[in-house]
Symmetry: C2
Subunit: 407 residues, 2 copies
């Protein structure tokens, strides 16, 4: 445990409240900006850089500089930052802090012996004068190095001064809080990533049996997200439909091969069985605590309903069909028409758009048809970016050729 | 933002370090115990109860009492606690704190007017004298009530005293930190739950096509966990095999119905195709950032290898077969033998054990056969608890009968 000693009284409340604010920030980028701005504020530093340990190096993730903001404005100052990394060894100040796990407080870097000099490339390129540097290790409670917080040029009443002992203590206290907050945010991000990865696999597993390629579900997800964004959904809900839509056909897992893979039209009875994939999908996805799964269930169940009430499985019409299902319906059909399948070639773009237009108010929500047309450039771009290549159809190859792919 | 004011200097370092310790505790139960013990320590309270808001009530989650520990020892004192809940209204002290979102500091509850009396049932039942109560709201940074921290009987030099203004401030500072830590821990737990739920669905989706019931994968997961625990795996790895094993047959998604559902023995060619389910499974599960998926890939790929090298797909033998795959191999076959399938009845227990024994050192790792025999009581218990019921075979019913199950 890092024990924080002798914090000056004036900063106590500040530090406690900063700790709470850090713990409450779950987006890594915002968290790192907050750590840097709060530590600059509490130590009155003109500039600062935050390094994280990544791939056994110290990577500069973000930097802030008040002088640059005043010189060029926030945007330009921010855009000047280029990420770089230094080795974790004694060849740089931040590297030394990470190796030795202790604070380095330098009153005037220009007076350091030649071999310990601060790298002046940046100062020269930007006409900036680095004078005092306070570099603090960010150690987690197990005393492992997470990163380094480097503060530059503290400002007292008479201009640039040295970092005081008190400022050093404040920065150390903040760095300890920051280390835990960073670790927690990364833990949450990794869990979220693992969850989304598993969701993708559930969608892909279903596609494995189908006549479609893995790119199909990726394209449909993007098309749905583009439409959702255009009709004014917030980013959280756009992400939700993007991540939920890949599971729209998961119920095809329950459809017999002889129907799923039949070449030529289905009989009435076969069609009836095929249509149960919406219900089977909803049953596979039911009763989940995950928001993604709940949205996916709705989409799986209703993505074959039609605006005019002639769809399945419920025959809902108009706005009785959940909006997320109406969005995926048009995205799914648009992609089916505009891409090659095992059993058909891709239709030319004008023919695709003619069919979509013709079905406005019949199959599709007319407002969504308008949105698709407005956003057609973005949609065509995704179609090119995730176009099927010949090898994407190889999953339909013979079982003799199946080999273990890379781990 | 809760602003913490005028914390006494002596407690500054303590509070900063407690904040870090809270942020670093990710298990909800340990976190709540830590919040309560640290707030009792810093306010010198003899006893305390921690309430969380659950289902629109305040639920007492944990309680601690030094007097009881001295009277009966830690274990008995701990076992005395019975969870209870109170409404969020003015009918109790903790309820009032939650409604009014402010501290209540009562010097002597015995002197309260009749209608505001503290509930004396507990005191009477345990011969305890509650005198002073400090009850503090736990508010998150959005000022929402998360819970209430109730501290009882602070002890000064002359015995039981009143909670001072300083103790009140310390408890408030700690409660703010605690609220964020609790919220973060719950967020992580919910993400973890959603992830595990999705993993289960991936396993179930595969079973949908198979001749086995959903209970099969549940039983195999428990059997594997029992064996892993017995051979000395730590809880984390036991959990890993428990959660990864349900995906062992996910590759069957890629096997044609005519082979997967064939009654009677497979031809050599059909068998060759059937055996690719191990490779298809590994390919579906490859390159995941999730530990569960990585373990699942290994299990999917190698769970049909045999100890004597006659298995598939690689023909590995002995300890070249990853241990997690050897464990699932015996668990899977044991369950197949001991339960009914569409095409066969369950074998009687002595016959199952005779086959398993006969295959020791041939199909199965002989050490694992010994472990299965040692743990047979626990395994039989799971077999009964998750036995297939007639309705579990209904997934094989006709497509006409498929209906939407509850959301």
């Amino acid at each position: 445990m890092n024990t924080v000693k002798e914090i000056p009284l004036d900063y106590v409340e500040e530090l406690l409240n900063v700790g709470i604010a850090l713990s409450n920030t779950h987006d890594l980028e915002s968290l790192l900006e907050l750590i840097l701005s709060e530590s600059r504020r509490l130590t009155m530093a003109d500039a600062g850089t935050l390094y994280l340990v990544q791939d056994k190096r110290l990577k500069a993730i973000t930097a802030q500089c008040q002088t640059f903001v005043e010189r060029w404005g926030v945007q330009t100052a921010h855009s000047l930052f280029r990420s770089f990394s230094v080795p974790i060894d004694n060849s740089s100040i931040s590297g030394r802090v990470a190796v030795q796990k202790r604070v380095i407080n330098i009153k005037d870097v220009t007076k350091l012996p030649e071999e310990e000099q601060h790298n002046k490339d940046f100062d020269n390129a930007t006409n900036y004068s680095t004078k005092s540097i306070l570099a603090v290790p960010m150690l987690n409670p197990d005393e492992q190095i997470i990163g380094v917080l480097q503060l530059i040029n503290t400002e007292g009443e008479g201009g640039t001064e040295f970092f005081s002992e008190n400022q050093e203590k404040i920065a150390m206290a903040l760095a300890s809080q920051a280390a835990v907050a960073i670790q927690n945010t990364m833990l949450t991000q990794n869990l979220q990533k693992a969850h989304l990865d598993t969701i993708q696999r559930l969608g892909l597993a279903a596609e494995w049996r189908d006549k479609e390629t893995a790119n199909h579900i990726t394209r449909v997800a993007y098309y749905a997200a583009i439409i959702a964004k255009k009709i004014g959904w917030d980013q959280e809900h756009v992400d939700l439909i993007f991540n939920a839509s890949p599971m729209h056909d998961v119920g095809k897992l329950g459809i017999p091969d002889e129907i799923l893979h039949k070449n030529g039209p289905l009989t009435a009875k076969e069609r009836q069985i095929m249509e149960t994939h919406t219900i089977i999908g909803a049953n596979i996805l039911k009763k989940s605590p995950s928001d993604y799964m709940q949205a996916a269930r709705t989409i799986a169940l209703y993505h074959h309903e039609k605006w005019d009430g002639t769809g399945y499985p419920m025959g809902l019409s108009g706005t009785d069909i959940p909006l997320e299902a109406r969005i995926v319906a048009i995205a799914d059909v648009y992609d089916a028409l505009s891409s090659r399948r095992c059993y058909k070639e891709a239709f030319p773009h004008p023919k695709v758009m003619a069919i979509i237009n013709e079905e406005s108010g019949k199959h599709f929500d007319p407002e969504l048809v308008d949105v698709l047309i407005e956003e057609i450039d973005a949609i065509l771009k995704i179609g090119l970016q995730y176009a099927d290549r010949p090898e994407d159809f190889e999953k339909f190859r013979s079982y003799q050729q199946i080999t273990v792919e890379d781990e």
